[in-house]
């Protein structure tokens, strides 16, 4: 009996406990304690009302140039190093130069961690950085045990820069939106000192409202949903906990570089297909 109870606790699915908990809420919602002055905006306890679309839905999406303009303003506010490029090659050159300039050696080696992602692959970072004796580690899409995960994080710690892409970028707040996929660990955008991200202009959305509507629509994106983990990143990690002095680089990256590729070539892969792990190295 005790073991059964313990097992239930582990699964957290003790139906009795859950039932009791929710019943307490139900009876509270129907409690006759309304004799005293209720707030003016008293509401009915109707269940699961219609999901309404907000006024935000009426806002225009914005043309690409407009979105870029908004992105530039937001990036400047957040100290994001934003650069616009005509081609992946140009972005790759620029990023390689930044890495060569900024990446300090760790334990005598210079390393960069990069996502297994088609757009990132087209930056050709390994070739570009070989001359500067900087090693690129591409993340593999392997099912990991806890022990191999620890090793992965230890290696990632040695990388000075983490290179990722993103699912979307919200122009108004310069927010990168990343959903969890094999080969694209969220730790790459977290553990290294510098986070460099590359996106195509077509991945720009106007704002958070648009993202929320997109993800809750019935269309493809709505069905795919948020996955089991979705991360939104707006600028480098920061804190103001000591006398309200703003310091960048609290626990995560101290700098964020964002490379936007404006004209997507015809053979550019859709961001959705990037989710499927491929073997490129």
């Amino acid at each position: 009996m005790k073991r059964l109870k313990a097992a239930r606790t582990e699964t957290g699915a003790d139906p009795v406990q859950r039932h009791r908990f929710l019943n307490r809420i139900r009876s509270a919602l129907n409690h006759p304690n309304s004799g005293r002055g209720a707030p003016a905006a008293a509401h009915a306890t109707s269940k699961a009302g219609p999901h309404h679309q907000g006024a935000a839905g009426a806002r225009p999406c914005g043309r690409p140039e407009e979105l870029l303009q908004r992105l530039q303003e937001a990036a400047a506010e957040l100290n994001i190093h934003l650069s616009l490029h005509d081609s992946p090659a140009s972005a790759g050159r620029c990023m390689a130069a930044m890495i060569t300039r900024k990446a300090p050696p760790r334990n005598g080696r210079r390393e960069v961690a990069i996502w297994r992602h088609p757009l990132v692959a087209r930056l050709e970072l390994p070739q570009r950085l070989a001359g500067a004796a900087i090693t690129c580690r591409t993340t593999a899409a392997a099912d990991r045990t806890y022990a191999t995960r620890r090793r992965f994080y230890r290696d990632l710690e040695a990388a000075a820069v983490g290179v990722t892409s993103a699912d979307y970028c919200l122009a108004d707040t310069a927010t990168l939106v990343m959903r969890s996929r094999p080969g694209q660990p969220r730790s790459v955008s977290l553990l290294p000192d510098i986070h460099a991200a590359v996106i195509e202009a077509g991945q720009l959305l106007p704002d958070f409202s648009r993202l929320c509507r997109l993800l809750s629509s019935g269309a493809d994106e709505g069905k795919r949903g948020l996955t089991h983990c979705m991360t939104l990143i707006s600028g480098p990690s920061k804190t103001a906990d000591i006398e309200a002095v703003m310091v960048e680089g609290a626990h995560g990256p101290r700098a964020l570089y964002l490379y936007v590729i404006l004209a997507a070539p015809i053979d550019a892969p859709q961001p959705e297909t990037s989710g499927k792990p491929r073997t490129t190295s």
């Binding site: 859950r18 809420i25 005293r36 999901h51 899409a141 969890s180 958070f208 948020l226 979705m230």
Partner: protein, 485 residues
């Protein structure tokens, strides 16, 4: 609570007052401007209020939906009736997974249930990782502000603390101190077995919890360790993602006048096959701990709409003078002044109910437009008149009797005039200085501790009205108020 009573009546030291004044000047007006700059305008706060009201009215349905979705992804959901159950579940989970080190993200509800002390007592090293919380933990104290937990500490104090505890050279440079904490905590993140966080807001329709931070510590705690336990007060849920859009944008503006929190993590379960990051074991603990009792009372249900942004702390003039510790619970400021009495006892926390000037700045600052002054008044009437539901007797029956007499007097002008005449006679006995009353007897002596009081005028204005023979209701113009008795 006797300690609270003393502290609540005492203002903080000048350093604390200075720090809080700076914080309020930086964040209070900035949040107001941020609401103004919303594309939908500041009226979005009222829409957010309606969204919260609806979510609370549907709470049972939404929680069941959330739990089902998380369970389907392989997560565990535990419904804890009180603090003891929530703590016991966490300890049991830690024991099962042989946890030795836990890293924590900032969480008000774990402060409320006293989780840290229980974990430490069970031999589990528990490290706060939000920089402010870390400072406070190293100093052996408790946070004094929801989003700026170490606001009561100066950089010099923090420098000395870090020099002693982290073995670094003495400095008071915030960037250097931040880097020192980063180095120390990075080691903890990489070796921790368990990550413990709160929940800013869950989403029932998608089955996720949303966690906000600027430092990245919460991302660390939810990405690296092999177990993640998230605690949420049962009211912290919204029906759908489009509600999150409105609430999270307002939350970031109310908390720090930001357009968007630096990091938002939506977590819906443990690591999936083929993925690198995330815990093998994910647990969501939904905590009641007195909330359903509040839920049942329409008068106070509105406090459950709170999304813990601390905007009210950033404008409250009383909080600015006494600081967060004076409130004697995890929840300080105007929010705490309503929530703490309801959770810990209205009579025990009577100072929290009575010790506000009811200025209303908190309501104007609240991103979800919670009428905190209304609830403070309702708490006061529980204290004054007693309340069956909250099982309290009147705090001061004698004051109630005196108030009865007052109401008898004011419901008739002749009685009122007689009472004023009587008061005017009594004030002849009081000492004066420069024409002002200098010292009043108890219970009014508080006023004259630092202020004089003008004496009652020789004749009330309305006496002059009624003495006019013919058009007696026409108000007289002449006579300044300089003719004092």
């Amino acid at each position: 609570m006797a300690e609270v009573r003393r502290r609540y009546r005492t203002i903080g030291d000048p350093v604390l007052q200075g720090a809080l004044a700076n914080l309020q000047h930086r964040l209070g007006p900035a949040a107001a401007a941020a609401y103004q700059a919303l594309p939908e305008g500041p009226a979005l706060r009222q829409r957010a209020h309606a969204i919260r009201a609806k979510a609370i009215a549907d709470l049972d349905v939404l929680l069941a939906e959330l739990a089902d979705r998380i369970t389907r992804r392989g997560g565990h959901v535990f419904f804890a009736a009180d603090a003891a159950e929530a703590v016991a579940y966490c300890l049991e989970t830690a024991r099962r997974h042989r946890v030795k080190l836990a890293v924590k993200g900032k969480s008000m509800v774990t402060e409320e249930i006293g989780l840290n002390a229980a974990l430490t007592a069970a031999g589990i090293e528990t490290v706060e990782t939000d920089l402010g919380e870390y400072i406070v933990q190293l100093a052996g104290e408790h946070p004094s502000h929801i989003i700026a937990p170490a606001i009561h500490k100066t950089r010099a104090e923090i420098g000395r603390l870090f020099a002693a505890k982290l073995n670094i050279p003495l400095t008071d440079d915030p960037p250097t101190l931040t880097r020192a904490a980063r180095r120390a905590l990075r080691k903890k993140f990489l070796t921790a077995d368990m990550g413990i966080t709160g929940v800013n807001l869950a989403c029932a329709a998608t089955g996720h919890i949303a966690l906000l931070s600027n430092e990245g510590n919460i991302r660390m705690a939810t990405t690296l360790p092999r177990v993640h336990v998230a605690f949420m007060g049962m009211e912290r849920i919204a029906a759908q993602l489009t509600d999150h859009d409105i609430l999270l944008r307002l939350l970031a503006r109310g908390a720090a006048a930001q357009k968007m929190a630096g990091y938002i993590s939506y977590i819906g379960g443990p690591r999936q096959p083929g993925h690198t990051d995330g815990p093998e074991s994910f647990h969501l603990v939904i905590v009641d701990n007195g909330r359903s009792r509040i839920l049942a009372d329409r008068t106070f249900r509105e406090i459950l709409y709170c999304i813990r942004c601390a905007a009210c702390l950033n404008v409250c003039p009383v909080y600015a003078k006494i600081g967060g510790h004076a409130y004697g619970s995890a929840y300080s400021g105007p929010l705490g002044a309503v929530l703490t009495p309801l959770m810990k006892g209205i009579r025990r926390a009577s100072d929290l109910c009575l010790g506000e000037s009811l200025c209303g700045a908190c309501r104007a600052a609240c991103p979800v437009d919670i009428d905190i002054p209304r609830m403070l008044l309702a708490l006061r009437s529980c204290l004054a008149e007693g309340d069956r539901y909250w099982q309290i007797r009147p705090l001061n029956p004698l004051a109630g009797r005196l108030c009865d007499i007052w109401s008898w007097i004011v419901s008739d002008r002749r009685r009122y005039d007689a009472a004023l005449a009587c008061a005017r006679f009594c004030q002849l006995l009081l000492p004066r200085k420069n024409g002002m009353l200098h010292r009043l007897p108890p219970p009014f002596s508080g006023w004259t501790s630092s202020r004089d009081l003008e004496p009652l005028a020789r004749r009330p204005f309305l006496r002059r009205c009624s003495r006019q023979p013919r058009r007696h209701r026409e108000a007289p113009e002449s006579g300044a108020d300089r003719n004092r008795s």
